[in-house]
């Protein structure tokens, strides 16, 4: 297993692991005594755990973007059965950046809605690297309404750097498509559970994440803007140092979001991240989906919708002091 790992794309901070992998490979090749090999392997798993225990926020973002990190379609293969994909928004087209369809997860029939970034170069281009167009958001909503009609719970997987910023997307109403999803998802009468599996970039993420329960994988990020976008605006330049500072400031990690009350739960990832053991990650996700849907499926629809409303209604931090004595009044006409 470690030998194949070294062929993986490596992140900068994982360099010590690459070193160890090389040593392990050498040891394997030279048929060294078993004791040495197992000590190296032990060293490796300890190091991996250490490296991932206190990842900096910026390194977390890198793990969330790891090219081998499992995506919606990977998880569907691992944890979903009888996946029946449903395409198109019935208005303009089909956006592969958002995958929708029925699947069986555990004992439940669900509708899955998830961002797809793409794995091969061609798929990445087709999916615009997970940046959905308006038709993607409209497809998502259309299928969610279908699920609502037949009482099927909804599971969404969030994994996007953000909604696509482009000429055609603007023309077709990117902002309106997201806004309508936010409004309509808040009143859908079936359970909705959302999991940020990789990147939770701003409105493009939230556009499929107005849910009864929201969770994040341990190395996912979720924020109002990407560290690079934030650095470019507030630090006047996106570079390594500023991106890292912005990632810190944005409180975008799973733990931060949990503290802020934006999510309910952080799902653990295997040592070294989801990409090192997709099957184990899928098993964790499956348990969470099944538990969450089970907890929500018997809640009366009106109660469900009311609770979902309250969940978002209370989000925000402000203080209420006495208003200034002179409220703004309408001036007399000049």
């Amino acid at each position: 297993m470690p030998a194949t790992m070294s062929t993986f794309y490596q992140l900068e901070f994982e360099k010590p692991i690459v070193e160890l992998d090389r040593k392990i490979a050498d040891a394997e090749a030279s048929g060294s005594v078993n004791g040495e090999l197992s000590s190296l392997r032990e060293q490796r798993s300890k190091l991996l755990k250490e490296l991932y225990t206190d990842l900096s926020p910026w390194n977390t973002v890198r793990v969330a973007r790891h090219p081998n990190r499992p995506q919606t379609r990977d998880y569907l293969k691992m944890l979903g059965r009888d996946f029946t994909e449903l395409s198109g928004d019935r208005r303009y087209g089909d956006d592969p950046a958002i995958v929708t369809g029925f699947a069986r997860i555990g004992e439940f029939k669900v509708l899955v809605v998830g961002h797809q970034k793409g794995k091969s170069t061609q798929e990445k281009l087709d999916c615009h690297f997970g940046c959905a167009h308006p038709e993607g958001y409209r497809k998502a909503l259309a299928k969610m309404k279908l699920a609502e009609k037949f009482g099927v719970p909804i599971v969404t997987f969030v994994d996007t750097p953000g909604a696509y910023p482009g000429l055609e997307a603007e023309k077709r109403g990117q902002a309106e498509a997201i806004a309508v999803n936010l409004r309509e998802m808040s009143v859908i009468k079936v359970p909705i559970v959302s999991l940020v599996i990789g990147e939770g970039g701003s409105g493009g993420a939230l556009g499929i994440a107005v849910a009864d329960r929201v969770a994040m994988l341990a190395n996912a990020w979720y924020s109002v803007i990407s560290p690079e976008g934030c650095a470019a605006i507030l630090w006047k330049q996106a570079n390594e140092r500023n991106n890292s500072a912005a990632a810190d400031a944005l409180h975008l990690t799973a733990r931060d979001n949990l503290k802020l009350g934006i999510i309910e739960e952080v799902l653990p990832e295997p040592a070294g991240g989801a990409h090192r053991d997709p099957a184990q990650t899928a098993a964790t996700i499956e348990r969470w989906v099944v538990d969450s849907v089970r907890a929500l499926k018997d809640v009366p629809p009106e109660t469900l919708v009311q609770r979902r409303f309250e969940r978002f209604r209370k989000l925000g931090r402000y203080q209420e002091v006495q208003a200034p004595e002179t409220p703004v009044q309408a001036p007399e006409p000049a």
Partner: protein
């Protein structure tokens, strides 16, 4: 510490804001003509030569729309906190305080009940004069309370937007204001009440992608920049020049995204007429 800072701004504020002396003439950024400032101002901040709509602060907007003496601001006691201890080149509480002193407002929104040509309504205006009208917890809360007020009182709601988007300094919490305001609007919608969304220059980002695009009727002021992504971001992504008029009000109307492009002189009349048509 945050609390002390926030509470001190009204004390620090001069009793009457003394307006910075400005030249009595200015050059219109659109037609480049020299125009007499007072003429522009009495013309509702529209260039008398070319009809360029200057950006205005929320209190000016309110003054233009409501019946004199009918508006009293509410929710002004809501103040930003610094939930993330956010610091870029400047600490967030310092930024907020500076903006409060500059604008004389607690945050980037001004809302209350009013009459518009005799019709009662709830009016909520974002304020570009405060951190570019960005939406953090306070703006999200005031917009939501405005929606709820309209719902309680059975009144039409008018929101005038102008914003650079969600406020980065409150990160995820700012993002959640998009869901919060939109969810409140779902209730207003189901209750059959009218929401007129007025988009003014500029309305972008998380504000556009939430309440601003959810109006039953969407009105835009002429040539206002309206979009999800900013033109600079799009240019960087596409690495090509954007067509003339892209993301401007008239372009959005052509794309089927707004109902009407309305001159500032007519805005008040149009809002009143729409309230009448929808039985408000």
């Amino acid at each position: 510490m945050t609390k002390a800072v926030v509470q001190s701004w009204t004390a620090l504020r001069p009793a009457r804001r003394t307006s910075v002396p400005e030249g009595s003439w200015l050059r219109c950024p659109s037609c480049a003509q020299m125009i007499y400032r007072r003429h522009m101002e009495t013309n509702l901040h529209v260039c008398p030569e070319c009809q360029h709509h200057f950006r205005i602060v929320a209190s000016e907007r309110v003054g233009q729309l409501v019946d004199p003496g009918s508006f009293q601001s509410e929710f002004d006691g809501l103040q930003s906190l610094d939930p993330l201890g956010f610091r870029d080149l400047k600490a967030y509480p310092d930024r907020v305080l500076a903006e409060q002193l500059k604008s004389g407002r607690p945050d980037a929104v001004l809302a209350g009940e009013c009459f518009i040509k005799g019709r009662p309504a709830v009016l909520c205006c974002l304020d570009l004069g405060f951190m570019m009208g960005s939406m953090g917890s306070v703006v999200g809360e005031v917009v939501t309370r405005s929606v709820e007020r309209a719902l309680e009182r059975g009144l039409p709601l008018v929101i005038v937007s102008c914003s650079g988007g969600a406020r980065m300094q409150e990160s995820g919490l700012s993002l959640m204001q998009m869901a919060k305001t939109s969810a409140a609007l779902a209730k207003l919608d189901r209750a059959g009440l009218l929401f007129i969304s007025v988009l003014t220059d500029p309305t972008t980002g998380g504000v556009t992608a939430s309440f601003a695009m959810l109006g039953d009727v969407i009105i835009a002021e002429p040539k206002a920049l309206i979009g999800f992504a900013g033109p600079r971001v799009i240019q960087q992504t596409l690495r090509q020049d954007l067509p003339e008029g892209f993301q401007r009000s008239e372009f959005l109307r052509e794309c089927g995204l707004v109902d009407r492009v309305v001159h500032r002189h007519e805005l008040r009349n149009e809002i009143a007429r729409l309230i009448d048509y929808t039985g408000g």
